[in-house]
Symmetry: C2
Subunit: 224 residues, 2 copies
């Protein structure tokens, strides 16, 4: 990640992305290039550039007549994304097990220690959990040493709907997630690709069902 953000298109990209993640631009909302250009303090040219990237990452969809809208993911869409993520991330875990170095293993352990501390507080520190969780998966991806795999996974994680749901994880889910992370580290230390792949598959599938449960619960509340 660049620290400078020198280019206007980069700034526009970051700003629009965070507007979508935060909900300032809600799902389904039409996007007007000129309006965003104003809000970002740049001209339409870099905004268009940013929109192309966000479209490739599925944050934005375009109608047949080229108008842009904030993506509105159905449950089916999320399920499809999780299926792909399961496949890709399990593959990454296998590759990582075959390639990981001692320094990377140590960094995984550190991330897990931070997660453990965040969970065991009286009020779990969910933002810390999210940051360290992201770091944990990023290290694995790095160890997998496949730039294309990384690029693909980026398309399939961190959609707004998923991020918002993670905020409502209960303590049990947080603890299970940590346990799976620790088992992954064991598998990596033994360089057991089969083991790592299987644990990662279970890890992502559990996360999916946690999402689906939260989603269903939310639906019930809306109905009441």
């Amino acid at each position: 990640m660049l620290l400078t953000m020198s280019k206007a298109s980069d700034r526009a990209y970051a700003q629009i992305r965070s507007m979508i993640l935060s909900g300032a631009l809600p799902p389904g909302e039409q996007i007007r290039e000129e309006q965003l250009a104003e809000r970002c303090g740049v001209s339409r040219t870099p905004v268009r550039d940013a929109l192309r990237r966000l479209e490739a990452e599925l944050f934005i969809r375009r109608s047949e007549s080229q108008r842009s809208f904030v993506a509105d993911w159905s449950l089916g869409d999320v399920e499809e994304a999780f299926a792909l993520r399961t496949m890709l991330e399990s593959h990454a875990a296998r590759r990582a097990a075959e390639r990981i170095g001692w320094d990377q293993l140590e960094r995984l352990r550190l991330a897990n220690a931070a997660i453990s501390k965040a969970i065991e507080a009286d009020i779990p520190e969910v933002p810390t959990f999210l940051v360290q969780n992201r770091l944990f998966h990023a290290i694995i991806l790095q160890a997998a040493a496949s730039p294309r795999l990384s690029a693909m996974l980026a398309q399939v994680v961190e959609q707004p709907v998923v991020v918002r749901t993670a905020l409502h994880y209960d303590k049990q889910n947080l603890a299970r997630s940590l346990h799976e992370h620790e088992e992954l580290v064991l598998a990596f230390a033994r360089r057991d690709g089969d083991w790592a792949e299987a644990v990662m598959t279970a890890h992502i599938r559990r996360a999916f069902h946690a999402y689906a449960d939260a989603h269903a619960q939310q639906r019930e509340q809306e109905a009441a």
Copy 2:
């Protein structure tokens, strides 16, 4: 696929892409926006748009200083791409087996019949083979009904180096490819996801080794 190609950026995209595939823009060549704008008969704006797309599809890479070059894939890069393609396309085959309809099955059989005819000519009609082969895989992808999976696979197939190698397939490889296609149709007809996935994995892996052999052979000839 749009027939009109109404927009200038679409025309630019198609033209530049075919220049790369045909070798008119060779690997490693630096790309100048203005020069391409001239050759495509449009301004730089749509060319830049097209370059962004081609960059996302890994036809083009950008240096740290934002200059664009035609991607030059190493053997390792190609191997990585084949590994991802194996995983993605096998997954697609499983999903297709669970969802495919009779009309799609029939279209698969038609494609195979065309391939069979193309192969059995005294001089195999390789272009016909390539067209029908692409169609066969496209139908499977359609049956898999996962737009994101389709988008990801697009990033990983049809790189210039692979396409050029396919032109040198020998008769034995062509025949084996057809045989695997026919076995896939059998698996689909029985709706056997495991079978379809396994055959597809074998299909792609064989293709990879055919590529690797051709590559090694070419290296030998260059050395001599």
